[in-house]
Symmetry: C2
Subunit: 158 residues, 2 copies
C-alpha cells in the first residue's frame, strides 16, 4: 500500500511539523508514505475575490500536475463526506482493495479548485469546523493511521 499526500504549503510551525512526522512514522507501519509539497500562492490581506480565485486555480494546476495516474484520489474539503473513525476505516479498507495507491489532497489556505475536486474519486471532511490546512494534514495523518490500526485489529483506537 502506498499513501501519497499532495499538499499545498509547507508546515511552518515546528510543533505541527513534528506532529505530522510522528503520525507519518506510525502510518509507515502500514505502507510507504510519500509527501508532495507544492508551492503556496502568496495572497495578501487585501486580495480581491478574483485574485483569490485565480490563486486557487494556479495552486490547482500544480496539484493536477502532481497527481499520480493510477491511484484512488481523495480530496479533503469541508463539503466532503463526514465519517466516524470506524466508518473511515471501512472506507479505507474498500479503497485499499480497489487500488494499491491512495492519494490524499490537502489544499492551501483557501481550499481546492473545482477542477481538482472533479479529478478526485472521493471528497471527505474531517470536521464541520475549519482548521488551517496545516493542522488538517496532521489530523488526516492521525486518522489514517488510526483507520489502518482499526483494520489491523490494533489497540490505538479504543
Amino acid at each position: 500500500m502506498q499513501f501519497n499526500i499532495v499538499y499545498v504549503g509547507n508546515i511552518k510551525d515546528k510543533y505541527l511539523a513534528e506532529a505530522a512526522a510522528e503520525y507519518e512514522k506510525r502510518l509507515g507501519a502500514y505502507g510507504a508514505v510519500k509527501n508532495t509539497e507544492l508551492k503556496e500562492e502568496k495572497i495578501t490581506d487585501g486580495a480581491s475575490a478574483a485574485e483569490i480565485a485565480a490563486a486557487i486555480e494556479r495552486e490547482g494546476e500544480r496539484i493536477l500536475a502532481a497527481l499520480p495516474q493510477k491511484s484512488c484520489k481523495i480530496a479533503l474539503c469541508v463539503e466532503g463526506r463526514e465519517m466516524s473513525s470506524e466508518e473511515y476505516a471501512a472506507f479505507l479498507g474498500k479503497v485499499k482493495d480497489a487500488s494499491a495507491q491512495i492519494t490524499f489532497i490537502v489544499g492551501g489556505a483557501f481550499g481546492l479548485s473545482e477542477k481538482v475536486k472533479r479529478a478526485c474519486d472521493s471528497r471527505i471532511s474531517i470536521s464541520k469546523m475549519t482548521f488551517t490546512h496545516r493542522l488538517a494534514r496532521v489530523l488526516l495523518l492521525e486518522q489514517t493511521y488510526r483507520a489502518m490500526n482499526i483494520l489491523a485489529g490494533g489497540k490505538y483506537h479504543k
Copy 2:
C-alpha cells in the same frame, strides 16, 4: 472573560504540548486561560468493561469537584452538537453574554461519565471522528481562539 479548561491527563507528547501552549497564548488575547489538569486513571490493556466504567466514574468525580460554580460548562463529547467554526463563534458569543466564565471539560481516554455530562450546560463535538483526548484539547483551543477572532472581526479565519 475567563476560559477554564478542565481536562484529564497531561499532554505527554512535546509537539502537542507546544501546540496547546501556542493556541492558549493566542486565546489569551481574549481573556484569561486557566488550566486544571486532573489525574488520569491507569487502565491496562486487558481491562474489563466494568473496570473501564469504574475508572470513568472516578475521573468524573475529580472533574465534578474541579468545576467552578458560576460558569457556563461545556462538555466535549462525540455525541455533542457539531458546528461550523462560524456557528461555534455565534454559540460562544451567546455564552459570553450570559456568563463571565466558560469552562470546557475534556475527558480522559475513555470519555466523560454521565454525571459529568449532566452537570454541563452544553455538549459539543469537534468531529464525528475520534481523536485522542490530548489532540482534542489542542483542537478545542484552536477553534476557541478562531471563534473569538471571528467575533472580534479578525483575519485568522478566512
